[in-house]
Symmetry: C2
Subunit: 157 residues, 2 copies
DNA sequence: CTTGACCTTCCAGTGCAGTGGAAGCCCTAC
DNA sequence: GTAGGGCTTCCACTGCACTGGAAGGTCAAG
């Protein structure tokens, strides 16, 4: 089948499928004389796996590694289980961070109700966010290094 | 004071301070004849506010808006409270998503213990991640608006 | 023979908050 | 007069998963 049909059958766009090929999660298919990609049935399953693995929180780079193990030495199950464990730990940490941040926001929000809007001084910009209180609480949490986003789901619609 | 001293006093780098100026969260200071930035004391407070607002989950764009309200019409408290409410709702949503994902990963992980590694077929890549199970669980989950962050990093291999 | 859907490649941009580095000026101490 | 540290600007890059668009080739129907 051509890329358009694969896109329709997998629920992805043709553009995304080409991107997946370049990302190494989908093998480069045969080409027609015209240059058009010609996919076999297996491509649908492969894309289903990619979607399922993404939904389980794996990145494309991780999925690519899993697939390379699969296409090389054999069953990647151990590797996958290790990835799941790592992601579970990441999720626990992130959930704890976000929960702490949520509590902090709630505290600020509640405190705001007790403040006099007129008492807000330009120097502090806004007294609802005191310049000394929050820092410690979320210093570990709201750090901004690695992206995440996971949880995806509605990611591609 | 020059930018190096402000950096030391605020706990940021000079580079970050210049970036904040370009992002509109720190007003452009006076310049010495040499072109060096010359900051007043207030800049320390301003940067403390920016850090506190970031710790409370606000983005630089939101902080810039708050500051523009402050420097314009007056007290931005209402605006800030609205932002806090929005972020609280975002956090609730994201925590729920991540919690659902966490449960799903746990399910896959548990199920993996019952599987025979030899039964893994190349077509499915890896039976630990079934191509039909996960989708529904996180389908409702992550919109891409709220960035997550957090250090995933190549935890595998 | 043309229309239009479909396909190709390549380049660039998105969002977020910075970080890295190059090329070059300023200032003080030795 | 030179060594150094600090400062300036500008551009590019990070991570992640796409998405948009341009310029052009392919193919079947009318």
């Amino acid at each position: 089948m051509r890329i358009g049909e694969l896109a329709a059958r997998s629920g992805l766009t043709a553009k995304t499928i080409r991107f997946y090929e370049s990302a190494g999660v989908l093998p480069a298919p045969a080409r027609r004389p015209s240059g058009y990609r010609e996919y076999e049935e297996g491509a649908v399953d492969r894309l289903a796996f990619v979607k399922a693995a993404q939904a389980a929180g794996l990145t494309l780079a991780e999925i690519r590694d899993v697939i390379m193990v699969r296409d090389g030495s054999g069953a990647p199950c151990e590797h996958v289980v290790a990835l799941l464990d790592t992601h579970a730990a990441d999720l626990d940490r992130r959930i704890a961070e976000l929960t702490a941040l949520r509590r902090q926001v709630q505290r600020l929000r509640s405190r705001a109700r007790t403040l006099d809007p007129a008492a807000c001084s330009p120097a502090a910009v806004c007294q609802v966010i005191p310049t000394d209180a929050v820092a410690a609480a979320t210093r570990t949490a709201g750090r901004r290094d690695g992206q995440q986003r996971r949880g995806r789901g509605a990611a591609h619609c």
